[in-house]
């Protein structure tokens, strides 16, 4: 087993709301090993981006710990923090608003390198920028192009180049390929996987595309309203998933196979999610086809098979007996 690079312990991030608190991330513990990818999936608004941002301290967590190589980084300051900070980058979900519109592509990619003083001289800086752009499929004719002149795919490549320029160990990829068409998506995924292999990079990969997440992840974490409902190795999630929300998610994947056009699907009904002051029990219960009285109690993550965790008393019972 390789070294654990990133770990969170009972991480929480709440946002204030006039009716109470939005429990965006609520008690999440995870581990990502060097050279591995953790795929994070879940309902829109369930807290994936907030989790990613909290790990790299773009949001100050409400409570809990984030460990980088075993060291709690939430209270690091000054030089100590900068040393860790450059090792952790993020590719943002929104390629529109995450790039400064007044900077050209070349300036955008030069900036993180310059701010962090990673190049010894001008020539080296130029060389790093050039090679990073090349790596990300941005030929030099893009040097003086501005974000608004580019289509979404190219903008996303710029975001990727900015993250890679600093040569980090860990990247939070927040839907890096959602805005891309399948061909460019395939190029970027191949690129991310090649880099992982050559640089032993670790990723936290947030996506709604379950085919993509299966393709790229070693482990998958399924979230629902701020909490982890299932956490297991990739094949285990696809072949032996236990939680009813995971089942609903997997059955809703659209497919190009026309014979499956009218297949049976688990369609979720019931109350919409509301993460403001949620009740203590299972948060999926109001929409769960199997909900019972016992779901009103807090659900604990239980290991139902090696490395396969589920937060559902019913699943745990079935696995146990």
């Amino acid at each position: 087993m390789s070294e654990v690079l990133i770990e969170t312990r009972n991480l929480k991030k709440y946002f204030p709301h006039k009716l109470g608190q939005v429990h965006a991330v609520d008690d999440v513990s995870l581990r990502i090993c060097a050279g591995q990818t953790l795929g994070v999936v879940g309902e829109s608004g369930c807290g994936k981006s907030t989790l990613g941002r909290a790990i790299i301290r773009l949001h100050q967590p409400t409570s809990g710990e984030v460990l980088y190589k075993g060291e709690n980084i939430l209270n690091l300051k000054g030089r100590d923090w900068r040393r860790v900070q450059t090792q952790m980058q993020m590719i943002f979900q929104d390629p529109y608003s995450s790039l400064n519109p007044r900077m050209s592509v070349k300036q955008l990619i030069t900036e993180p390198l310059r701010v962090n003083h990673v190049a010894a001289n001008k020539a080296e800086l130029e060389e790093r920028v050039r090679s990073t752009m090349e790596l990300c499929g941005l030929p030099d004719r893009y040097d003086n192009v501005y974000p608004h002149e580019m289509d979404g795919g190219r903008r996303q490549r710029v975001g990727l180049a900015r993250a890679l320029a600093l040569n980090p160990e860990f990247i939070v990829c927040d839907e890096p390929v959602s805005a891309l068409d399948v061909s460019i998506q395939a190029q970027i995924l191949n690129l991310l996987m090649d880099l992982q292999e050559s640089r032993n990079l670790s990723y936290m990969f947030i996506t709604h595309d379950l085919c993509v997440v299966r393709h790229i992840s070693h482990q998958i974490m399924v979230m629902y309203m701020g909490q982890v409902v299932e956490y297991a190795p990739t094949d285990e999630i696809f072949e032996n998933h236990a939680h009813p929300y995971t089942a609903a998610l997997l059955s809703a994947i659209p497919t190009t196979d026309l014979s499956r056009r009218n297949r049976e699907r688990v369609v979720l009904k019931g109350e919409v999610s509301n993460p403001i002051n949620p009740k203590p029990g299972c948060r999926f219960a109001p929409r769960c086809p199997y909900a019972s009285e016992k779901c009103n109690e807090p659900q604990n993550l239980t290991e139902i098979a090696p490395n396969h965790f589920v937060a559902c008393h019913e699943c745990a019972k079935q696995a146990g007996g």
């Binding site: 946002f15 709301h17 006039k18 999936v41 879940g42 309902e43 829109s44 608004g45 981006s49 907030t50 979900q93 929104d94 529109y96 608003s97 499929g137 004719r141 003086n144 002149e149 289509d151 795919g153 190219r154 839907e175 959602s178 805005a179 891309l180 068409d181 399948v182 061909s183 460019i184 998506q185 395939a186 190029q187 995924l189 191949n190 996987m193 709604h208 595309d209 379950l210 085919c211 993509v212 299966r214 393709h215 696809f238 609903a248 998610l249 809703a252 994947i253 659209p254 497919t255 190009t256 196979d257 026309l258 056009r261 699907r265 369609v267 979720l268 919409v272 999610s273 509301n274 403001i276």
Partner: protein, 327 residues
């Protein structure tokens, strides 16, 4: 069936300081009344430009329609005056933009933004009725009405997208241009929203162009599909015709081959080699020639014509035979 929208041989350029981007190059597309058409194509293929052209919302100064025509409901869009345009955009066509922040006002509460659209379309409703409608539509898109007093930046990416969808749907348009409306959504919410869109579409017999790069969504949700490459439609037909995968444009084939497959464990995906032709410097022949495994001399000399390979199924490739078997 009658065509609601007819785009014929449309040419649109963007002129930047340094170069001219040929975004649409002879773009032809028909949308029937009541039809849902899936529009698929690489980033930069010109999908968004097509929508902006239909709405006459192309950025002023930098863009220019160089040729072709757009007919909406029998009216010539390119010659409409300001008030006709306002009428068309407001009452008949809604667009869901790819970037939700294009349509959202960052300093206005989300509930108020939906309410504003309602006020425009249903001025007869009382304030209380409007509030109820806002709550209803928010619930339908899976957001608790408790959150309507918040601002866009307090919402997740997918929640913003859902607010924009809600705004487009309360307007009850005849034609909905949806530019990648569900890319930021998980599949369960996506399924819910697509079902909702379908319901409303059936209720008002309206049409929709659904731009997406998810071929699964097209297969499950659309009636027909058009594939766009470098500013032109290179294949169009019913879902059955295109997804049967017997007579496809080589580019369409390439698209099918680069989707990660749930059932396979291939370590690497097979992207289509190379990049899309530089839109500032397009080749004279087939624009896909450089990336095509089946390119022959003829392909580099002249642009191929549309061939009707089966009734209603068109492919723009030199190697297709009319009504025949392709390759």
């Amino acid at each position: 069936m009658e065509n609601l929208l007819e785009i014929k041989d449309l040419y649109v350029n963007y002129e930047t300081d340094e170069s001219v981007v040929h975004a649409l190059n002879g773009f032809t597309l028909n949308v029937k009344k009541g039809e849902t058409l899936g529009l698929v194509g690489e980033t930069g293929a010109g999908k968004t430009t097509m929508c902006l052209s239909v709405l006459r919302l192309l950025p002023e100064g930098v863009s220019k329609v160089e040729g072709g025509s757009i007919q909406y409901d029998g009216k010539d869009v390119l010659s409409m005056n300001k008030s006709e345009l306002r009428q068309m955009r407001g009452a008949q066509i809604s667009m869901i933009f790819q970037d939700p922040m294009t349509s959202l006002n960052p300093v206005m509460r989300v509930g108020d933004q939906i309410k504003e659209v309602l006020s425009l379309h249903n001025p007869e409703l009382s304030d209380k009725q409007k509030d109820e409608r806002v709550d209803d539509i928010l619930k339908l898109v899976g957001i608790s009405p408790d959150r309507k007093d918040q601002f866009p930046h307090q919402f997740s990416g997918g929640m913003k997208q859902r607010v924009v969808i809600a705004m487009a749907l309360v307007a009850e348009p005849q034609l909905l241009l949806a530019d990648e409306p569900t890319t930021a959504l998980d599949v369960t919410i996506q399924a819910q929203i697509l079902a909702l869109m379908k319901q409303l579409k059936e209720k008002f017999d309206s049409s929709m162009i659904l731009i997406t790069h998810d071929l699964g969504i097209v297969a499950e949700f659309c009636d027909s599909v058009a594939i766009v490459y470098a500013g032109e439609v290179i294949e169009t037909g019913s879902i059955e015709q295109v997804f049967e995968r017997t007579k496809n444009h080589p580019y369409t084939e390439g698209l099918f081959n680069c989707i990660p497959d749930l059932t396979s464990h291939a370590a690497r995906l097979t992207p289509i080699p190379g990049y899309m032709a530089d839109p500032t410097n397009l080749p004279t022949g087939c624009k896909f020639a450089d990336r095509c495994g089946r390119c022959i001399d003829k392909c580099r000399q002249a642009a191929p014509e549309m061939v009707e390979v089966d009734p209603g199924h068109f492919v723009k490739c030199n190697q297709m035979e009319k009504g025949g078997s392709g390759l």
